[in-house]
Every structure is written in C-alpha cells, then in structure tokens.
C-alpha cells in the first residue's frame, strides 16, 4: 500500500503550492507516472480518491500521463524503448539495458482557482 504514502505526498505538495501560489481549490491534477516507476497508476488514483475528501482537492479531476520507459543498450549503444525492466534490447536482442527514462512520479501541472 505504498500508493497511499504517494497519494499523501501529492496532497502535501498541493498544500505547499496553495500557500506559495495563492490558490484555494484544485480543479485538475496532472500527474506524470512513468511506465517503469514503482507505482500502479490505478491504485494511486484509488488512494487519492479516498483521501482527498475535505481537502482543497476534494473536487479535483485526476489526469494521469504515462511517460514511456526508455533505456540505453550497452551492447549495441542505441537508445531504445522498453515496457519492462527485464526487456531485451529490441534492436540487437542484448540483455544489458540501463534505464534512462520512464521512472518519474511527478505532479506536473494543476488547474486551480
């Protein structure tokens, strides 16, 4: 259930930003969740729905943007697209991929008033 900790992290960020950027309500939250990140987007959505009541995000809509998994193949030297950490290189079939992108878990943008 670490999705619950992450959902709390999102609300904490909203509170901080509300004070810094002077807004009272959040209408839409755009989250960027990489395909190789350590969170399941639907679980995170479930947890946020559960804890956002009585907060400044009570009525907020949640938009989740999936960012693609990216890696660098140490065998053929090419940047490649991967869906899982254990994928082989789609170019050369090699098994030595270093992940370079798709691990993000971020609050990207808010629509506020």
């Amino acid at each position: 259930m670490h999705e619950m900790s992450l959902a709390e992290g999102v609300l904490r960020l909203l509170d901080e930003q509300a004070a810094a950027q002077r807004f009272e309500r959040v209408l839409t939250i755009w989250l960027e969740i990489g395909e190789l990140s350590t969170v399941d987007p639907e679980s995170l959505r479930f947890c946020l729905e559960a804890i956002k009541k009585d907060t400044l995000a009570a009525g907020a809509k949640l938009e989740i943007i999936r960012t693609p998994g990216q890696a660098f193949c140490m065998d053929c030297g090419k940047p490649v697209r991967v869906a899982q950490r254990y994928d082989s290189c789609p170019e050369c079939g090699g098994g030595s991929l270093q992940v370079t992108g798709g691990e993000e878990m971020r609050v990207k943008e808010l629509e506020v008033e």
Partner: protein, 262 residues
C-alpha cells in the same frame, strides 16, 4: 501576494485580475481557474529528508546499508551474525523495520550491538523520517556502520530513499530463482544481491546461474555474493564488500577546519 503580478505585497489591497484563467477569457465574477506548473516529484518530501540523513551520515563518515528482501530470506539471521562479527572491527548499529513486534531488535541486541526497532504499524516500508528519528535514538558513532533492515517486502521499499549508501537485496535459495524478474524494481535499485542459505543447495532445485542471469537482466551492474548465514560460508566476501564501501565513506568524510595535515 498576488501570483499574477506581485501586487498586494506589504498588506496593500490586491488588484483584481480577470481573464487570467485557463481559457484566458473568463468573464468577471465567473470561475477564475488558472494553470500552475508544478513539476515536483511526488516523493520530493521523502527525498529531502533522505538528503538530510545522507548529509549527516557523510559528515560522520557512517556507512549506511539498507537491507531488503521478502520475509523469510534470512535477513535477520545474516544481520545478527554480521553485526556480531563486525562489532569487533568498528562500531556497528542496527535499525530494524517490521510491521509489529520488537523480536528482531531483541535478537540484534542479544549480540551486544545497539538496535532500535521501528514498527511501521500499517505501513509497508521504512521512510526517511523514520530513519532520522531512529538515528536520533541510536546516537551514531563516527565512522561506524549502520544496517537498516527494511520491512520484508520486495515491492514498496524500492521507491523510498532512506539516505543509505546502497540497497542490498537478499534472495534465498528456498525462494524462486525468477524473483529478480518478478520484482524488478527492487533488484534494479540494489547495488548488491546476496544469495543466502546456499548450504541448502544440495537439497533444492534452485539454479544459481539462472537467478544470476535474471538479476543481471534487470541490473547489469549489480554485485553478487553467495553466502550461508548459518554455516558462515561466503561471509568473508560480504565483510570485504562492506569494508571496501566503509573505507570510501570514511575517506570522503569532510575533515573539520584546522584538522588538515594531522
């Protein structure tokens, strides 16, 4: 102060800005929605606390290792033996993470090594705040080694930085050799994989080469060690690995001003 133009500072009345909403064309009196770029990591708060922990560890020259595995891999047995052996060489301390009970911290304390138990309650992982608090309780010795035994769980602890120098993942030969592929985030986050209980290999069908292949598939740079915490086989390699890391941390320790050349 107004976020649009900065008016309203010094308790002056704020100007009213209409037409600044998302659509840029709202009528006065209607909703003034606007877009705010945030670009903040969801784990940013934990990461900031982890950075504070890491700074403290660096200042004191303390090597911190975060031990992670599934329940039942022999983590605590390995740690008891390790703590008992290494305390003869330098100060050692342990933070034990479990959902409930202080059984593990009791086992560590029985070896003479100071330990603090962190009960996470409903939580599935340790976080940087818990480690900061635990370290305050422990009172770390300079140039010591702190082992953190995380909650037995190959999923959640992967994402939470505690301020450690490295994560060490323990896999035992009584588990499936395909765990690195089933739980890739953890094996990708670890710098060392310890294969434990190798004294049981003659009685099992565990394929060591296959598990090593799987671990390398998710983490080509991972270090690998085979040990038995019960018989002591391979423990010297583990102690050497720790010693090498400890030397790096001690060498990188900032010296207090005026202490150069001593």
């Amino acid at each position: 102060m107004c976020a649009v133009c900065g008016c309203g500072g010094d308790d002056k009345p704020r100007d009213l800005h209409f037409g600044q909403g998302a659509a840029g064309a709202h009528l006065p009196g209607l909703s003034q929605a606007r877009m705010v770029k945030i670009e903040r990591d969801i784990l940013g708060h934990n990461d900031a606390l982890a950075a504070e922990n890491r700074k403290r560890f660096a200042e004191q020259g303390v090597l911190v290792l975060n031990l992670v595995s599934s329940p039942g891999s022999g983590k605590t047995t390995l740690l008891c033996r390790t703590a008992a052996d290494l305390q003869l060489r330098y100060p050692v301390a342990v933070v034990e993470g479990d959902q409930q009970t202080s059984f593990d911290a009791d086992r560590i304390r029985a070896t003479g090594v100071p330990a603090v138990q962190v009960n996470t309650g409903k939580g599935c992982h340790l976080d940087a705040l818990m480690i900061g608090r635990a370290v305050e309780q422990l009172g770390l010795a300079d140039e010591s080694v702190l082992f953190v035994e995380n909650v037995g769980n190959l999923v959640c602890p992967a994402g939470f930085d505690l301020g450690e120098a490295a994560k060490v993942v323990i896999l035992s030969v009584t588990e499936g050799e395909d765990k690195p592929l089933k739980y890739p985030d953890m094996f990708a986050a670890a710098e060392l994989m310890i294969l434990n209980k190798i004294d049981l290999l003659p009685y099992l069908s565990f394929d060591v080469e296959r598990s090593v292949g799987f671990a390398r598939q998710v983490n080509p740079g991972i270090d690998l060690l085979n040990v038995s915490a019960t018989t002591g086989q391979g423990l010297d390699g583990w102690y050497d690995w720790i010693e090498q890391r400890r030397r790096q941390v001690v060498a990188a320790r900032p010296r207090p001003a005026g202490a150069e050349g001593r």
